[in-house]
């Protein structure tokens, strides 16, 4: 189990398109991946879950992964956040 905190860097926040990107990426790994924001925890392989987190610009999210490929999973998700989901 590893955890890493990230910040939403794109202006629009996590709307449908970034959420789809996150789910696509997360689904490539077998590990169980969760996003935590404030007191809410949701499954990172669920689009509606991620959208309902309501993660706006500059909000911080903790990515937690548990499973064999946990490190690769967190690494590629963090990269998505760092690249601002290819938005501004």
């Amino acid at each position: 189990m590893i955890e890493k905190e990230v910040t939403v860097r794109n202006r629009a926040g996590i709307h449908a398109r970034p959420a789809a990107l996150i789910v696509q990426t997360a689904s490539q790994y077998a590990a169980h991946i969760e996003f935590k924001k404030d007191h809410e925890t949701i499954n990172a392989k669920s689009i509606m879950g991620i959208i309902t987190l309501g993660a706006s610009y500059n909000s911080s999210i903790t990515i937690a992964a548990d499973g064999e490929d946990e490190e690769e999973a967190v690494e590629s998700l963090v990269r998505l956040f760092e690249n601002r989901f290819e938005e501004d």
């Binding site: 689904s27 809410e40 925890t41 499954n43 669920s46 689009i47 509606m48 879950g49 309902t52 987190l53």
Partner: protein, 328 residues
């Protein structure tokens, strides 16, 4: 990291009709961000009389007609020590019922202390009941679960399962068959009134949407009408969908009751194996109806087994009788 519940949040609670608190802020606005940390309430009669032992300073202070009349008397007589002492205790807020307004001296002490004064038109007993109910919900134990919640024949069915096992597709067919969607993908479960599990969408502001692979995000309210949705529902049955595992022994009789605990509340629990050709929505519909039968005291599997035992008994008796007569 739990979010703080402030006095402003209390004013913002979206409660309707018989739950409405009817609160407005009439003073001490700078204190609206004070946190409410407990669902308990206090009537400050003793404190106003100068007795502060065991004073519940972390509670909302409710001023009914009696307290209001007493505050009125104190301010008319110019005795303000106890009121000042009261506000020095960092109470979260004062609430006046019956639409009563506090005297100006009381107001200015509250303003100085930065303690919000709220007012409601409701009578004290009704208001206190509603407030306890509302705060009970706010402070209820809660958990967000990756699942889908539907109401099937009046039974709240929580569908669990890994991503891609077909929770949303199952729910979609149930909706198509006239049942109702409560929440898809992210269900917020709260434990209220002791042992009731109440489920609702994790973000009610976003409405009832579903994600169906191949279709994308669809709006259930618009597609199927308002009759096909519900805001919240008690969870009465849990169905775990899982890919059929031929090594695993699934329940074939259903005579023993299995339960799953969520937030410490045990709820009837079924494991439903999924494979092509198995119509899961119909199985869930049947499970819901069976659950209703059980609530009425009729257990299909148990009743069936009793019939078999009765039949075996009578068969034994018949054999014994025939043997005795030497007719075998």
């Amino acid at each position: 990291m739990e979010e703080q519940f402030t006095v402003l949040d209390l004013l913002d609670l979206d409660l309707k009709e018989h739950n409405d608190l009817g609160l407005t802020c009439v003073g001490g606005r700078q204190g609206l961000l004070r946190a409410i940390t407990t669902p308990d309430l206090n009537r400050p009669g003793l404190a106003l009389n100068g007795f502060f032992d065991n004073f519940g300073s972390d509670r909302l202070q409710i001023f009914g007609r009696g307290e209001h009349a007493f505050v009125d008397k104190l301010t008319r007589e110019g005795v303000l020590d106890n009121i000042q002492e009261l506000f020095s205790r960092d109470i979260p807020a004062c609430i006046f019922t019956h639409g009563l307004a506090p005297p100006a001296e009381f107001q200015s002490i509250a303003d100085e202390a930065g303690c919000p004064i709220l007012q409601t038109e409701l009578v004290t007993s009704e208001f206190v009941m509603r407030l306890i109910r509302a705060l009970g919900n706010v402070f209820a134990a809660r958990e967000t679960i990756h699942a889908t919640l539907v109401e099937v024949f009046g039974i709240g069915v929580l569908i669990l399962g890994d991503s891609g096992v077909g929770k949303s597709e199952t729910a979609l067919e149930l909706i198509e068959r006239g049942h109702r969607l409560v929440a898809d993908d992210a269900v917020e479960v709260r434990r209220v009134a002791g042992n009731i599990l109440l489920g609702q969408g994790a973000n009610p502001a976003l409405g009832h949407h579903m994600e169906i692979r191949g279709l994308g995000i669809i709006n259930i309210t618009h597609l199927f009408g308002v009759g096909s949705i519900r805001d919240d529902k008690q969870i009465q049955l849990i169905c775990q969908l899982e890919v059929w595992d031929s090594q695993k022994a699934y329940d074939r009789i259903g005579a023993e009751e299995r339960t799953l605990e969520i937030l410490g509340v045990a709820t009837p629990y079924l494991e439903i194996p999924v494979k092509p050709g198995r119509n899961i929505p119909i199985i869930i519909e049947t499970a819901a109806m069976n659950e209703r039968l059980k609530k009425m005291g009729y257990y299909s599997a148990r009743e069936f087994n009793q019939n078999i035992m009765r039949w075996l008994d009578s068969e034994n008796a018949r054999k014994a009788y025939l043997q005795k007569k030497g007719i075998t």
